[in-house]
Structures are given as structure tokens and as C-alpha cells.
Symmetry: C2
Subunit: 430 residues, 2 copies
Amino acid sequence: MNSPLKIGIAGLGTVGAGVVKLLAEHDKLLALRGGRPLKLVAVSARRKARKRDIDLTGVRWENDPMALATAPDVDVVVELIGGSGGVARRLVQAALKAGKHVVTANKALLAMHGAELADLAEKRDSILAFEAAVAGGIPIIKALREGLVGNRVSRLYGILNGTCNYILTTMRETGRDFDVVLAEAQAAGYAEADPSFDVDGIDAAHKLAVLTGTAFGARVNFAGVHVEGIRRVTAMDIELAAELGYRIKLLGLARETRYGIEQRVHPCMVKLDTPIAHIEGVFNAVVVEGDFVGTTMFQGRGAGQGPTASAVVADLVDVARGRSMPAFVVPAARLADKKASPIDRHIGAYYMRLMVQDRPGVIAAVSSILANERISLESMLQRGRSQSGEVPVVLTTHETEEAAMQRAVARIAKLGAVAEAPCLIRIEKF
Amino acid sequence: MNSPLKIGIAGLGTVGAGVVKLLAEHDKLLALRGGRPLKLVAVSARRKARKRDIDLTGVRWENDPMALATAPDVDVVVELIGGSGGVARRLVQAALKAGKHVVTANKALLAMHGAELADLAEKRDSILAFEAAVAGGIPIIKALREGLVGNRVSRLYGILNGTCNYILTTMRETGRDFDVVLAEAQAAGYAEADPSFDVDGIDAAHKLAVLTGTAFGARVNFAGVHVEGIRRVTAMDIELAAELGYRIKLLGLARETRYGIEQRVHPCMVKLDTPIAHIEGVFNAVVVEGDFVGTTMFQGRGAGQGPTASAVVADLVDVARGRSMPAFVVPAARLADKKASPIDRHIGAYYMRLMVQDRPGVIAAVSSILANERISLESMLQRGRSQSGEVPVVLTTHETEEAAMQRAVARIAKLGAVAEAPCLIRIEKF
């Protein structure tokens, strides 16, 4: 039997405990598949006393996670602490500098410091692996790095945050509004007490930045992601979308444009006949468009103990077998430093919903503002009368530039007959 | 720059020409991603004179593909000849014996001789890679071998033949019958002049056998696959399926049962709310259920020049980087030699459509036969009267054993009022 791969885990929350369970439950299977035993030798977590339902007999406890970075009996450090800075960053840096391999699920860390860490790993010929950082158990990083490596990727997009997708799915199914569904999701444990990381799109943006870097061989550029969350999506818009043949999804999208790489996270209208429209609840999905392979889609559970542990262990088996590759496919020094294509330059179609006083001339005024910006309408839908005297008017446009659309919206918002801020949702065509 | 990986390609049909194009078009990209140039040094094909629209300047032509197996300047042989025996098999054997790596798209060869070839590869520490053999550009072999390696797979299933899926999709969309749609597909180049390999399920069965071996770490057992094609699927059954909330898909399915590994390829009824029901046209999809990851699905184009070349080149980059793994995840000597679970033991629900004389007592007779076999009905649907006096009667059952169902069908077929052989389609629950 070959010598075991000796593993140190920092962080024993849901994911860390899952990895410990998987390593124990499938130890024989993993030894066979990995070509050598995967042996957990040390762990570190904040609270030793916490009940975790895992067996740590024979595993060394380190009070200081940094000790894992230099422990002579640790070959690979699994970083499951989280956060873009602090201990997580110091630990990963120290471990790579010490020539250890690192497996991490930390999307924030990679989004902020991915290129720097990739460079550190390469200097010592270490593996930096992060399958678990994006889309839970879906092996999408491996697909981009290896399975689709022969392609130039033209576009990728996906449902990258299960909490948002669960909330949007539930809003659609029940007809209830965001606040109500969020409160229920929090009570059920599907959303955090402080939900902003998820519902404001930050988590999806971290993941998108990592995917973009991997797919385009570019320096991870989180600051270049245009981010909008789902707080402003209403049950009314979801219902109107359905009437128009769309579903509303929070997508992360990236593509190359003449201005650089466009990265966006925001609610999108997607046609009901596209596969991604049917990814519901806590599921994630990523679509990759390559020049030879065409369109591929990968779906599965985007979070949770089992799926995330599955991804961490896949990376560990790669390390056990010595299967390496630069973290972002091409060597760190060769990562392209591409400009972020500004959202103003985005070309796309739009859905705009207005609440207007039901009186003559309003539609004419709106149409005139759009025409002035050379925005052409695809459809217009006016709903019946309401008691308040305000009725929703829905417009969808043909493709236009974001900047023109934003100018038009600003002017429309100032019309006397328009009762509240217009709701604008980008329509994505696939 | 590191020394190039020297490639010899045997077979320059659609896929071979695609690989040559991809290697040329993305040569710089691949050198960067593969860590060394991927250099085509030699090719062999039956007809040198054939017009192929590829540039072979500087590439040696071998009249005998077997020369590639021993050529000192070839590191990896790409076998794209096809067929389970003959030259393809001899070439792969000889190349592996000579210590060369082999990349192949040959599902028939792997289905018949997979374990033997895996053993040959291991003896010489060579890589035997076959991403292109299953589901075209979808990196499903890599997903099973690496991305989901931490899981015990409980079940997998997929749409593995694009021709059949195209025919079934078109039959549903146009309401036309199999023969008509097949003829059109042949005229359009979507189906072969001799379509039996596809429409009789053989191609899907080859792919399923390879997937099963990879997912379960078992010796590939093509003979253990129960195979039925789509020739007997009628437009009427597709329409009736829709009324019941189902679509008819040709699936390949594998799971472990108490009798061994069950492998089946046949038309299936799948509920409209399952993702796989929405994989249409020439697309393929594979669903993998793992104990930690849960349900994952991978979809993309299942055939064609670009997608298949994408898969071949992904394998070549793995070879360039020296990323190896036993062909079927576990060492050849450790591959489980599992029994094939017989189709008689299959437990599932069924759809049965009868054409019956519209006279009293028929339903009672059918019901009585089913009751005798302890098969309980889930639903029964009788369509209106017809001019011929024969009307379709559709029954769906709860779960029962295949053997009981087949006994019942044999008896029902003999009833005087039953006009033609009953149509039986298995219902799959996911």
C-alpha cells in the first residue's frame, strides 16, 4: 500500500464535519480510488467543545489553525474557515509557502486574492484546489479546467446561489412577496439570520468571479462584477414574467465583449423553454458555451454538507494522485489582466414595469422617451384598472445599450403619472 | 518550453478531422493549458485521397495504422477507427503494449473489451482515456472518475443516443410515426443509412456499459445490458404519454440491486416535471445519483465533430499533464465482477396500451389477469370509439416485478378482443 495522504482540516462547521464523515465512511473506497489512503491527521476549529457528531479519535486537535500550515505530518491543508481575509487567508498563504497543498471551499478568499494565491502555489509546485467554492457538489471547476479545456469559452452563466433560487421559486409557487418568503426561509434554515450576503448577490458574485477567472484564464476580478440582488423582485413581476413566458432567476453571467470581460449578477428574465428556467429550489446550474463543445449545462445541489464534502474530497483525491494543473488553468504569470466591461456598455433586452395613473397620455409620454433613446419596444402589456387608480404597465424592449435604458428610466421615473420607481429587469437570450 | 506531446491519430472521419482542426486552431491555448505543445506528428486513415478540409502539412501519413503503435515519435495514439474488433482493437492493444498512451472514442471496443484494455494500460503505466466514447462533449467520464469520486453511486441514467432522442422529439412535435421521422432524419443526415445501431439501442447500450463500469468500479459487462430500441414506439403512445403527464425517452439506466447490477436500455416514460424529460433533439444528458452529492445532471451535445473533438482533446491535455487514473477508477485487478441483475427481476411501474374490440367484458378480462398476477392499477384511460371498432385502452400500474408483468401481457395478448400485441413501456420514477 502506498503511503497515505495526510490531511489537516481547519474549520469544523457543516462542511468540515461532512468531510470528516465522508473520509471515514468511504475510507476503503477512497484508498482504492485515490491509489493511497486519505488519512485525517489533524483538525482545528474555534470551539473544541461543540457537539459535531463526528469521531475524531486519533486525530490531533490544534488550537491554532496556523499550526496546520507548518505541521510536518500534514501534506494538504483543507481550509473551511471562510472569509476573504483574516485567519483563512493567512492559513492558505502560510500553507502554500510551506509547500503544502491546499483545498478550500472559500469563494470569498478566491474572489479577492485568487491570482495571488495561484502564484504562491505555483512557486512551490503545490496544488491549490477549490471545487467546493462554486456550485457545491457540481464538478464545474474540473469541467472548466479539464473537461472543456479544449474550448475557448464565449459565455458562461448560472444559478449560483441556492438561497436566492429557493426564495424566487417559492415566491413564484406561492405568489407571496420577498419579505414573507425570506422570513420563512430563515425560519426553515434555508437563509441566514443576516441574509444580505446571499440575497444581495455578493455570494453569487464571488462564485462568478472564480468561474470567470477559470473559464477565461484571466485574473479573478471581483471588483469588476456588476451586482444586484433580489430584494426588489416582487410577486407581481414574477407573475407578469410568467404571462410573458419568462421566469425570473438570479444569474451570474460572464462573457467577453469588445470592452473586456462583462461580469454581471442580477435578476434575469429567462424564457421558459430554456433549461436553466427549470432549475428550481436549492439547486444550482452552470451553463458553459464553448467554441467546439457548444452548450453544456451542469446541475446539482449548490450547497449543503454532503454535496460540498463531495467536492472537497474530489480535490483531495486529485492531490492524492498528484494530478495537478495551474489553479486557473494557465500559469499565474500568464493570467490575462482583462478590463471589466462596464455595465453601461451592456447590450441586452429589458423588461420594465411601471405603476402609472390610469389616465390618457401616459403611454404616449413613456413611448416618446424610449423613442428618443432609440429604444424599440417588443411588447406592451397594460393590466386592468385598480381601486387605487394605479395600474401596472409592462414594456419589453429589443436589444439596446444599458446606458440608454438607464437614461430613459430616469426620465420616465420623473413623469407625474408614474407612481413609484420603475422596476427594470434584464432579459437574457440564450 | 517543455517537450511537446507527440500525437498519432488513426481514423480521419468526422471526429478525426475535428481533432486535427481543434489542435490547429487552439495550438497556443492548448500549449498554455497543457503545459506543453500538443503536436500532431502522424495520421492514418483508409482513404488518403478523401477531401477532408484539414491541413496535414508536416504530418506523416501512415498507410498502416498499426505503425502508429510502434512509431518511436508517437507518445499517444488517438484511435478513431471504431468497431469492437478488427484494426481498432489490435491498434489499441499494440499501442498499450508498446507503452503508449491511448485516447479513444470507441464505445463498442470499450464495451466489449474494456477491462482487458484497462489491464494492459496499467501493466505499462499508460493512460487509457475515453471521454469521447460517451455523451460526446459532456465530460461525464471525468465527472464519474474524478469529480464525483467521493461518492458511492446508487443509480445513473441518461439519454445516450442523440439520433433516438431526435427521432422521439420530432415524433412528439409533429405527431408523425417512427418510419416517417426516421426517413427524414436519414435524409437530413441525423441518422445513418443503416440505423439499427442507433434505433435498436445498441449504441446506447455500449455507452451505458462503459458508464456503469466507471461509476460502479465493475468490469464492463455489455452482455448484461437488457436492450430494446425505439422502433415500436408509436405516435399514439407519445400522445397518450403526454395526456398522462409523461414523455417517452430512450434511456440507459444502471443501478445496484440485490441480484447484481441492473443495466437497461429501452424506451421509458418519464414525468414531465423531471429535468431529463426536457432534454430534446440531439442533446444528451446523464444523471448521477451519489450518496453524498445527491442528484447531479450533465447535459450537452452527444455527438458531432466539435463536441467529440472537445472530449478527445480534453483527454490529450490530461495525457500532456501526466494526469493519470486507472481507466475505470479502481485498478483493473480490483474491478468487481458483479452479476447482471436479470430483467425478470426488475421492479417498476408500467404503461400498457392495448387495441381492443369495443365490447363488454374486455376490461374485466384484462383486469382479472392483472389481479391474478397481483399487479395493481394506478390508472386506466379508454379513448373514444373508432371506425374500425378498435379502441386504445391505456393502463398504468403500480410497482410490480417484470416477470409478473410479462406473464400478464402474454395472457392479455391472447384475449380474443385484443387486436394487436400490447405495447408495454416501463415508467421510471426519479
